[in-house]
Symmetry: C2
Subunit: 183 residues, 2 copies
């Protein structure tokens, strides 16, 4: 969310430094006030599309070059403290490790299923691909008339555009990693 502002801040400052021009120069070229440009470069602004448009047009650059994240950077996530949703009376738990980001295009979950736990998902939008890897235990994935049992170390890829179900048929806690790829 304010990841956006950071990217913008970084890219704008980078371009301005590469061309070695001042905030006044950019303000004159784009029609955006110097104060606002300073705020943007500090990542303390939440500009409107028209402001971004003016910056991109005035600097003769594309949107993507303004919104792109810096090439090299670390982002650390943890399953501890990750927001989670419970289903099947708390016996099926979904932890959102990497939430969806428009720049990335996919999201990443960790799923814990108590013995016998199950969860049913409605059909996602067209073009969604689901990748499930079993970390521990055993799971049955059902989608339409298809059924598949996967165990520790195995990965199943399937199209999520129809209703599907996860089920733990083993006697132990089953742990999964799930990647949801959109579009």
């Amino acid at each position: 969310m304010e990841q956006m502002s950071r990217n913008l801040a970084f890219q704008l400052k980078k371009i301005r430094q590469q061309r070695s021009v001042s905030l006044d120069d950019v303000a004159k070229a784009t029609g955006v006030s110097k104060a606002q440009l300073a705020q943007i470069e500090k990542g303390e602004a939440n500009p409107t599309v028209s402001t971004i448009w003016k910056i991109a047009a005035g600097l003769r650059i594309s949107f993507s070059s303004l919104l792109q994240p810096p090439i090299a950077h670390f982002m650390k996530f943890s399953s501890k403290n990750a927001p989670h949703v419970d289903e099947d009376e708390g016996r099926y738990r979904v932890y959102s490790i990497i939430p969806y980001d428009p720049e990335r295009g996919w999201e990443f979950y960790k799923v814990e299923m108590e013995p016998g736990a199950r969860s049913r998902s409605e059909a996602h939008t067209e073009g969604v691909e689901e990748t499930v890897t079993v970390i521990h235990g055993q799971a049955v994935i059902s989608a339409g008339v298809m059924h598949e049992t996967i165990t520790e170390g195995e990965t199943l890829v399937f199209s999520g555009h129809q209703a599907h179900e996860y089920q733990n048929i083993s006697e132990e806690l089953t742990v999964l990693h799930v990647i949801l790829q959109y579009k």
Copy 2:
């Protein structure tokens, strides 16, 4: 500028209709108020990046899919009434036919040069490519130590990253079409 808003309006409405969901549904999925979404769909809004981010994230789509222009559309430009800049005491006139647009990446000029008129351009930023076509008359293009004469029907392509000069060496009005491609 409000081209942006139109694209956004079109794409958001299209996606919402494809999925056949209501404004309330989208509001709930994205955290953006229904009223604001309605404004955006009508092209009467100028949303902030965080709002666009929320929409893209909530709908699990990319930025580009939100900002892309509708596939088929007409845009008509005219050299009449086009904003123009004069140089060399009005004997060198530049008409901006298609102004730069961040989605397009290039801009289009028409240039009129009285006999003997000349214009010098400083070096553009790295990676700019200039394409000049003579509509009528004759012109000399100089860039660094290079010189080239082009006449009616001829086109010259050169890198604009160094200072360069246009000159009309003929006895008649010379008309050029110039494409400036950035990055």
